[in-house]
Symmetry: C2
Subunit: 215 residues, 2 copies
């Protein structure tokens, strides 16, 4: 749950930044690359983690923190791939913050690459740096081809933008190129990947990025 | 943008409730039924409003308030149906509140039924009563068939739960009956409608509900 903005002497965003810096130092100390995966509900975040671990699990030591309002459905999916994983339930909060993430870092000292799957939401995670090295924003064509345009802030801070479920574009009447162009216009520096996790389109390009990140 | 919860003497949720009561009195005075439509990004909220106005616009006077973070794409879609409509941009906020809604009510004095389309989000709108008569929560099968189970709070407060895009269930591997059962378990009193707005499935059932509401 969150309330209206109130001016106090406590700057919670500064506090978040401070803890994010500490997380970043932890990652540096243990040579961990951390990827904050943000995206709407059902955009494919958990499946992206699963496919990556399936493909590269022999060469890279992965770990995963899974943010969700309630429950541990995603944890079960990821844990079956035999990687260290932890669920963070945010209760009524609609995003992870650096403090929540910091609580479970000890478990991941030995990993090369830590996925941090944020709560399914394209608005709230924007203000909360978690200490990550890379920010991925994932949407799917089934959310409507105006989904990028409607949420400029989150796309502006992305390093990688994934447009998923492109095999369904015709079925839902979505214009994939419009989405790609909207993403590039908002953020010319970001890498934009057209993907379809179920059929495998774009996955090789993503895996290459992951390999470069830990090399 | 929102921050962590801070204890103060200002209870913003009580303030919201007070303004929601005022909105409710306004609706009563002018004999307006207000429907708060909540749901994830791209679940079909705007299209539901459009289809309803297309079908029943001759017999019911509609109006629409369209909540979005930025932009007026939804306003353009709805306004072409020649009904009074207003966009409410929430900036960094991820939900409408009673105060934001109250600002544009004067425009809708003459309508029978006012749609209030909330910001695309299944978490944040839960705490903010807008003064509405009916709460609709809309999700689509493309969000994954665990989307209901993962967001219990919002489904508990719904009067009507719509599971949309069921024609795509096979393509995305979603179990529609699981979603219906999850919804019924969380909220046995809610009306659950299986819908596919593009092909028309479930629309008649919805239109019947709308007609009963204003009769």
């Amino acid at each position: 749950m969150h309330k209206i903005e109130i001016d106090t002497n406590i700057d919670v965003l500064s506090l978040n930044k401070k803890i994010a810096r500490e997380n970043r130092e932890f990652f540096k100390k243990y040579k961990i690359k951390a990827i904050n995966i943000m995206g709407a509900i059902g955009s494919g975040k958990t499946l992206l983690i699963e496919k990556t671990v399936e493909s590269l699990g022999d060469e890279i030591k992965f770990g995963a923190i899974l943010g969700d309002v309630v429950g541990s459905a995603d944890l079960k999916k990821v844990a079956r791939h035999n990687i260290p994983a932890e669920v963070v339930n945010t209760g009524k909060e609609c995003h992870l913050d650096a403090h929540l993430v910091s609580h479970c870092l000890e478990k991941f000292k030995d990993v090369d690459l830590l996925f941090i799957e944020n709560v399914g939401n394209l608005i709230c995670p924007v203000d909360f740096d978690l200490g990550e090295s890379v920010r991925v924003v994932m949407v799917s064509v089934t959310e409507g081809d105006d989904v990028v345009d409607k949420h400029p802030e989150i796309f502006r801070l992305a390093d990688v933008i994934i447009i998923n479920k492109i095999a369904l574009a015709d079925a839902v009447g979505a214009n994939v190129e419009k989405m790609v162009n909207d993403a590039k216009k908002l953020n010319p520096k970001a890498k934009v990947i057209k993907m379809d996790l179920k059929t495998g389109v774009g996955v090789a390009e993503w895996l290459q990025l992951v390999k470069e990140l830990v090399s």
